[in-house]
Amino acid sequence: MTSAGWIRTAVVVAFVGVVELLCRTGLIPNTVLIPPSEMARELVSILEGGEMTGDIAATFRNAVLATVIAVAIGFAVGIVIQAMPALRRSVEPLLASYYSVPTFIFYPVFIVLFGVGDRAIIAIAVLLAVVAMITATLNGIDRIPPVLKKTARIYRMSRVRTALLVELPAAAPYLFTGVKLSVAYAFIGVIASEFILSGSGLGYEIAYAYNNFENRKMYALMLLVLLSVALINSVLDVIDNRLQSRLRR
């Protein structure tokens, strides 16, 4: 691990320690926040008990599906928009203001279209994630150095070969930023939809625990969400760093 990594670990550990201390000494009342060690213990017992394995698996499955769909659609749409500059100039303000409208108010539409259950949740998550991918695709294509395209022309490469061998690798780091954001938004979309609207999944279980004043369970599940996000992010970060270092080569 790098020295920055060690410092980061130390910062996180210190933060958790302070929270633990504040909870133990009663400065933060137990009705508001339980000590992190208690959360961890409760989480372990929940995972061992297995009563929530189904919910957790469903949440992750939906998030993965939503990410894959959003990345595929976002990439395709991005390429189409990029190919038509006039369209692009008109659509860009819409893309930029997109995130200020709460997407899940369109849940009733999806229920009618897809029925109650996983498919409606996935649809909302896709709706949330796809715009990040579109924006990243546009950005990625913009950033391809013109000299690479010229080189491809000099070698008389066909359009398909240019796209696969020159443009795609050149845009890859930017596209990956889009993938990273899509993962985050898909996760947010799935959990938020479950939290607000659904009857199953990790988000629902948190809402259910909250409504029943089961603080321990609620915080244990929140910890699980937090840990999952941190883990997913660090894996994506490693891939991202590899791609970024290719840019500087």
Binding site: A4, I7, R8, V11, V12, T31, V32, L33, A86, L87, R89, S90, V91, P93, L94, A96, S97, Y98, Y99, S100, V101, P102, I105, F106, P108, V109, I111, V112, L113, V183, A184, F187, I188, I191, A192, F195, I196, G203, I206, Y210, M218, L221, M222, V225, L226, V229, A230, N233, S234, D237
Partner: protein
Amino acid sequence: MRQHLATLLVFAALIAAWQLLYLIAGDVALASPVATVRRMVEMLQTRSFWDNARETGYAFLCALALALAGGVGLGVALGLRRLAAVVAEPILITLYSIPKVTLYPLVLLTFGLGISAKVAFGVMHGLIPIAIFAMNAIRQMKPVYLRSSRVLRLTSLQTATSIVLPAILPELLSGVRIGFSLTLLGVLIGEMFASRHGLGFLITNAMGLGDMATIMAVALFLTAFALVANGMFSSLNRMTHR
């Protein structure tokens, strides 16, 4: 002129798609464009709508001010120290990608029901993207700027206000643009859960009644507001890029 035509076509296509969706899904799922606009016009003439809008607007302004101050402060403070930025970035990105709705119970337990919970929720959504953009903008700033500030023996505060902030202004504006949208989203979500006032409450209330026209009308109003704000950011952006 061609550009205006293209914009017009995009809007026409969106409305056509909306109408088509309405024809497929029917009244239960959404309101037709005509019904939505009619409902919105009706709504804009009522006092209660403007009371709610004012409530949301006030919470939003508070949240935006806090998110801006906190985000820029944090971003600049971390960005100026290379090591601090490297240490903090993954932490900030993880915080950014947490589904913040799940933290809502914590916010409610801490702040109670009412405006402070809404504002806190807005700040939670908006602060981090602004900080990330500010921090990364500083890291990509030309090193000569900081060297000249050292030559001139400026204090950290002077460096921040007279060198760093002007240099990162364009990137900062992109961050603020995203922060603006997300803060609004945060405040609205906050209102949807735990409020008896505001546009978010209007939406949840309409959801309970199955009143799709009102939901869509509020959504349309918010979209229009976001588009106008976005247009303002775009022109600001062009000014800073001179």
